[in-house]
Amino acid sequence: MNPSTGSGQAAGVRFALLTAIGLALFPFAFHAIDGYGGLATQILIMSIASIGFNLLLGYTGLLSYGHAMFYGGGGYVAALLLIRLMPQHPNLWLAVLGATLAATVLALLVGALAVRLYGIYFALLTLAFAQMIFFVVEQSQDWTNGDDGLQNFPAALLPLGPYSIDLGTPLPALPLGAFGNLSDIKLWYVFAALVLFGVMVGVRALTRSQFGEVLTAIRENEERSALIGFNAPAYRLAAFAISGALTGLAGALRALYDGSVPIDAVGIDRSGSFVIYTIVGGVQTLLGPVIGTGLIMYLESVLSARIDYWRLVEGVVFVAVVVFLPAGIVGTVTKTVQERTQKSRALLTESLRARSGGAQAGPERLSK
């Protein structure tokens, strides 16, 4: 049974609150396990891309093997906007918005062609476009610096009312013991956290809206949804565009944060990384892509410093998840918890029924 609108809103507020608290505490908890502020920021930024990717794979059922074209495309456009158009007054808003817009347009163009295909054909067509973009970027030496990527572009400032904020500024110093120091965190983290927060709340609302329900219906049974009167390709195209836009946004943020765009940003391994992040965390869940991104990027950082075969570990983890936990970490945990609560609820109902000797004790009474 669906929760009533009132409790749905309460759940939404609770979700927003928990997300905000989680994002605020994350870098400090992360410090305690050897993570650092910069990596925390990168994880948040990449999570935005993974959420975008999952909107397509999880909610629409389409596996894109070319999301690097949006991610890297966003990065290159942001960097080029700064270098070519505003070297004097580098404006972060304009760079990010321009890049996101460019990624959206690209997604609309590719999507218009791709959404007619399914399964392997869809995956390969997205791969084909991503490869074309990769080689065009690689060959356009004058603009993109080819294999070397773009570096040393002007650090963008964030104009906000009368202020011009430099996101590289650290927070005030405040020792926190095992959790590091408040000044380990730069304003960049705060900014990335705000964007991710907005994306999570927005995507949650989107997937719970009628739009999201129609997407799921199309994923489960396209013919039936089409017969009811929904224009399936249009819905899939919309999902593809939003997915590309979020991934482009992440690419732009990452480029501006790192101060560089490597050629790998448009490469096939990058496309694969979104697949890995999302599957490991849990497809069809909102939190899954975030957890998966965080876990894999953390493993990469910790392991690559100690062993030189961390990618082997990554591959083994990925295959293990695909084979044993197809719902991913978050999906499996959620399922287990739900089953447990249902079981205990059923037990409770039964015992109450036995005690009252009647059948009046329904779940409604128990939920309070």
Binding site: Y65, L113, Y121, L125, A128, Q131, V319, P326
Partner: protein, 289 residues
Amino acid sequence: MVALTQALLNGLVLGLIYVAIAVGLTIVFGTLRLVNFAHGAFYAIGAYIGLVVAQQWGLGPALVAAPVAVALFAVVLDRILLRPFYNKDATSQILVTFGIALIVEETLRLIFGSTTLQYPPLPALATSFAAGPIVYPAYRLLFALGVIVMLVLVWLFMEKTDYGLIVRAGVRDRTMVQLLGGNVKAASTIVFALGAAIAGLAGAAASPIYSIAPGTGFAFLVPSFVVVVVGGLGSFWGAVLGGLLIGELQSITTLVFPPAANVVIYLCMAVVLLLRPQGLLGESEVIRQ
């Protein structure tokens, strides 16, 4: 004219490597309905094993050892991991085989290092074939001939032997074939191993021409998917036609306008996917996978 002929010959050799990888991809898809992103790994394993054996005992033993070892690996992989995925959707198959490809690539990197390896200078590789002004390495021509012979053998196997028959019938109606006493399971293992062995052999045979690195498998897999898609997923002759087409297209573009050489094959794939998703020689029933 000389340059064009050499480009055409290069395209033929490159195309035949693609064909050798694509044939395995396509028969495994056509018969088992399995999308195998790990197929490039078979090529890479074959190349490395071939290199190691060739350094010790020469090229001949290498060309025997590589396909045998790769086929064994494929059987184990099939039995342990891939079986449960035969009847799942294409997306799950892509995911698990992509993961396997990652593991193989990283294992190769761990054993052999990240550096690109070159074949030892064998006398057989130094000879050239000359016809008038056109000089071409003899080994490449021999390689092309070898692939063609292998293709004929594979085709004969699939069309003329009982195993090929069981496999092709099993695709249509598995239960019926089993009721009639055909061992579909054994036959599909053989098909899978055969596809892998061809890729492994191609890896060992082609590595004197193209250098070897851990990423080689995936680097060849991606164009091979282009080939299979252009020719038609599941179609044997489609893979052959697609491979030659893509090889020549890439080689001639390299001659005429090098920067576009890589873009053009993906453009070709995109056009085919959009206008004729079942590929040039494919059946139209497989589009909605």
